[in-house]
Amino acid sequence: MSEASYLVELREGAPRAPEVLRELVRELPPTRQARTIPPIRPLLVAGTGIAVAVAVVAAAISGIHGSGSSNQGARAVELRATRDFSPQIPSHGAAASGAYRAAPGLTAPSRLQSQDVSMSMRVKDLSGATQSAVRTTRRLGGFVAGADYSTGSNTGYSRLGLRIPIANLQQAIASFTGLGTILSQHISVADLQTGLDQLNARIATARKAGHKKQVTRLERRRAALVREGTYAKVALQLTTTKPTAKHVVPSRFDRFWDNTKDILGKEAIGVLYFLVIAGPFIFLAALALLGERARRRRADHRLLEETG
């Protein structure tokens, strides 16, 4: 008997179900097929898709909200520039002296004050800028209290300690800012008027009492105080070092994109955190499930092998 013939025999001789069983099946209620329990896998896929979509939309909404209008962005940049004198703002004498005036509640012409100004600037010609700063200082009645000048193959710097009459300080700053790009500026004001008033009172008392030596000593102290309030200390640092990266004012789309990326990054970190925490448990559970299924499959096969 050939292989094909017995296979055909098996196929053609296959028994039909008994009539009793057929009757039983015919009597089954005519249930219509209607899915009430959705399959899990498409649900999982759909759920993941929805979660991702929600995350992206939330990030986009947050990005739009955070980007603000273009005017807001520009104003924010202007404010920052005024505060920090960021390198991207081109320096103009008027603007910078305006910045000096913008520190205003600090200075009071009617009172004796000591003023310290520190400026850091990037210049193209270090030597020329240094000489120009020194010339301006002398022209305005000031003098150079200290200088530190250094140049290398690519970069160089010049640190000048200047004393400039307070009356001409604004003009000096306006002139210095024309030397290059302002990197930073710091102004500090200290009131000396109270100390001066006290000294004057003590001198008057000493005079009345006829204490000449004390009057002389107090007058010397008063002269020193007045001198301190006459000249402003200006620390001017000039450098040729270029900033590491050019700061560009971001457009609204850039701000939107940055915000969206931030939110998406945070969401990704959250998901990653969850996976790091729950991942091993999920992995072990999946492993256990697969192992159980394999074990059950093997047990079933063994059972069928043993069954004659």
Binding site: L7, E12, P15, L303, L304, E305, G308
Partner: protein, 177 residues
């Protein structure tokens, strides 16, 4: 008569009653269970139980995941395995062994089957008969049979090859003997 617009999911569109599906695949389920058990009466009982289960789970049947015949065969397999497990427990408990396959004079696995072939089939294990009935009698393709058995198609081919080889050997030895 206008031609109906074709749909991508005919299985979903073609909603049929359970009774019609059951009647269509009744013979296949019965044959499958008969080959697994080797006992017509037991196969009849298990087939009835299978259709009861199927009726209860009919709402969960998803035609996109497989044909109704495959689904019914999977249910039938589960029913048969449950029976074998309970039988094994009973035998262990009672400490007795009784063969499921009755020693009948008439062929069990088909009316026109030669006695040698019927005996050869009867001598196979349930696992071997299972793969033979799926691939040869019900003519399921390898992938569908693999889905019913919960194994890979290559494993189905291997099992079938061994089962047929064994069947042939038994038939030859029966003829010689």
């Amino acid at each position: 008569m206008p031609t109906p617009w074709p749909t991508r999911k005919p299985a979903l569109r073609d909603e049929r009653s359970f009774a019609s599906v059951a009647e269509e695949h009744l013979d296949d389920v019965y044959r499958y269970l008969l080959y697994m058990t080797g006992n017509p009466h037991l196969a009849e009982d298990l087939a009835a139980e299978t259709f009861e289960r199927a009726l209860k789970r009919w709402r969960r049947f998803d035609p996109r995941r497989g044909a109704a015949r495959t689904w019914l065969c999977q249910l039938a397999r589960g029913t048969a395995l449950d029976h074998f497990r309970s039988e094994r427990r009973r035998r262990r408990r009672e400490g007795v062994y009784a063969s499921d396959i009755p020693e009948l004079g008439d062929p069990v696995f088909g009316e026109g089957l030669s006695p040698e072939l019927d005996r050869a089939v009867r001598s196979l294990s349930a696992a071997e008969r299972e793969v033979v009935v799926l691939r040869v009698v019900l003519e399921l393709d390898g992938e569908t049979a693999a889905r019913v058995l919960g194994i890979r198609p290559t494993a189905v081919s291997t099992r079938l090859s061994r089962a047929l080889q064994k069947l042939e050997e038994r038939m030859v030895s029966d003829v010689r003997g």
